[in-house]
């Protein structure tokens, strides 16, 4: 039996609409569920005191500090490398076998599961380079992980800078380097920051790669050579060992809020950037 096309369309569209609604409901549920259970646990004591009794009581201050330092280390290493890569790919070469290889490498790196980053970081940074479980080992591992994101977004941002800008700069006698540094990069800045913020968001939420490289010490880190537990690792341990569900929800809420805030800034910047361009 063949239904009239209009009827089929109405049927299919309502199915697709239902799928979309279901997706949004599930995703929003995750956030609302965590925030509703977790927000009541958050107060200044929770945020600004040390955990007690393995995290069953007290606050989460050292994990909060670790979750700030670790992404900073990662970005400090990945941003210069990623931006240089993108500048090289867009301003300094033509499409060739080499650029395709570099892009393919970055795409593959983006697809590597975080547990493999963890294994690698554990063997390479922690063991072979003798950095031990430390914020530095974790930061270096995360740097590799967020590198592809920074390369990709920076590349797109640089490509969006109109060619006329470069031509004017070149016609004024500027070298390619000066044109890149004074004209291209400043105009691509919001896009570049988007990539960096996305990397920060990913670093804050990461667990598998961090637990084997930065370790899980609950003490306040005195330097980047100390082992320290990030919020996400702390939350994972609280949840898995069933130490305290109140603390787990509270930590999860802080975790989600920080990741969402960081990503919101990232997408906000990207939107403004796109609007300015078009």
């Amino acid at each position: 039996m063949r239904l009239p096309p209009r009827l089929t369309q109405a049927f299919v569209v309502s199915l697709l609409g239902l799928a979309t609604a279901a997706t949004l409901v599930i995703l929003v549920f995750v956030i609302v569920f965590i925030l509703r259970k977790g927000l009541p646990a958050i107060d200044s004591e929770f945020l600004f005191t040390k955990p007690q009794d393995m995290g069953r009581a007290g606050g989460i201050l050292p994990t909060l500090v670790a979750s700030v330092i670790l992404p900073l280390i990662a970005v400090a290493i990945a941003a210069p490398l990623g931006i240089s890569t993108a500048v090289y790919l867009t301003e300094y070469t033509r499409e060739s076998r080499v650029t395709r290889m570099i892009r393919f490498g970055a795409d593959c790196l983006a697809g590597i599961p975080s547990i493999l980053f963890g294994l690698f970081g554990f063997i390479f940074f922690v063991t072979i380079l003798r950095m031990g479980w430390s914020l530095l080992s974790g930061g270096l591992t995360l740097a590799l992980m967020i590198l592809p994101t920074i390369i990709r977004t920076t590349e797109e941002a640089i490509r969006a800078v109109p060619n006329a800008y470069r031509e004017v700069s070149t016609s004024l006698g500027a070298t390619r380097f000066r044109t890149t540094a004074k004209v291209v990069l400043p105009n691509a800045l919001p896009g570049i920051v988007t990539g960096i913020m996305l990397g920060v968001g990913r670093s804050i939420g990461e667990t598998a790669a961090v637990i084997f490289t930065a370790g899980s010490s609950l003490r306040m880190p005195a330097s980047i050579f100390d082992s320290s537990r990030t919020m996400s690792v702390h939350f994972y341990i609280l949840a898995r060992e069933g130490l305290s569900s109140e603390m787990a929800y509270g930590t999860a809420a802080v975790l989600i809020l920080s990741v969402l805030a960081v990503n919101l800034v990232a997408y906000g910047l990207m939107n403004r950037f796109i609007r300015r361009r078009s």
Binding site: F124, A208, N271
Partner: protein, 287 residues
């Protein structure tokens, strides 16, 4: 101010440009270095197809984990792929652009929710629900598949939306001019033109599902056995590595790195396949 020559700049940038591929090679090198000799000594078939994993007696067969990873991934794709592609079609073809401009970033924003949080929701909400309505331990293949299916949605939606948006408007107009409805146009023209991009999105989602670790550890139950029903507790390849890495030494640790090799190879195959699909789309449009 020190003047840096153009040539120096070019060389420095080129060196930096190899950082990503260098990182990839380093990761491959060290995971293979730690695990390959074990892999060869144990034998390809004994390691992959033996179903006894007992580190204490020195027997390392990853077949149950291999099967579990396969089923969990298939389960996740069964939910995530049709749902994700449906959402993408709906957003591009059937709602005003202004709605899509709000919904798509929202979904991408949600991609940032850490995997441990999804795992936690699985433990607190989904597992008890499965236990009370279908029986079994709750923490199961089914729970893991569902959570992963949801987690890969943003990946699939975001890339599929881009692929469908990239189909030229003239294709649609041609179809409308022939009297086709919008859905007929989508089914017969748009989806055909966007096919390789959509397939790429599904493959990338699959890569994410295979590689996901923390959420799976929390909801899959982690029993080392070949599952006979979706309600059985299972342990995936990734979970196996993460669960035992903390205390493994000697041969046991090598076995975990060998598991990492298997995972690495699977992921590289998926990445390459997705890359081929994306390139096909680009060259198809030019030609």
């Amino acid at each position: 101010m020190i003047r840096i020559g153009e040539k120096t700049v070019r060389r420095l940038l080129m060196a930096a440009a190899f950082s990503a591929i260098g990182g990839l090679l380093l990761i491959a090198l060290f995971i293979f270095k730690e695990g390959l000799s074990f892999f060869i000594e144990t034998g390809f078939r004994r390691f992959l197809f033996s179903d006894v994993w007992d580190p204490q007696s020195g027997r390392f067969g990853i077949f149950p984990m291999l099967v579990a990873s396969l089923w969990v991934t298939l389960g996740a794709m069964t939910l995530g792929a049709p749902l994700g592609v449906s959402v993408a079609i709906f957003l591009v073809e059937f709602v005003p652009r202004s709605v899509m401009r709000v919904v798509k970033p929202t979904i991408e924003l949600l991609a940032g929710i850490p995997s441990v949080v999804y795992g936690f929701i699985g433990v607190m909400v989904l597992a008890p629900f499965i236990r009370s309505s279908f029986g079994g331990p709750g923490l199961s293949l089914l729970a893991a598949s569902f959570i992963l299916g949801v987690m890969i949605l943003p990946t699939i939606i975001s890339i599929s939306v881009d692929a469908i948006t990239a189909v030229p408007a003239s294709y649609r107009e041609g179809s409308f001019a022939l009297g086709a409805t919008r859905w007929q146009t989508v089914r017969m023209v748009v989806l055909k033109a966007a096919r390789s991009g959509i397939i790429a999105s599904v493959i990338l989602g699959m890569g994410r599902a295979v590689g996901e670790t923390m959420a799976v550890i929390m909801v899959a139950g982690n029993a080392v056995k070949i599952p006979h029903s979706p309600l059985d507790s299972v342990r995936t390849l990734t979970a196996n590595i993460a669960l035992e890495m903390g205390y493994a030494t000697g041969r046991h640790r090598e076995a975990l790195f060998a598991t990492g090799i298997v995972l690495f190879v699977v992921i590289m195959i998926l990445n390459t396949a997705a890359g081929v699909m994306v390139r096909k789309r680009v060259s198809g449009k030019r030609g």
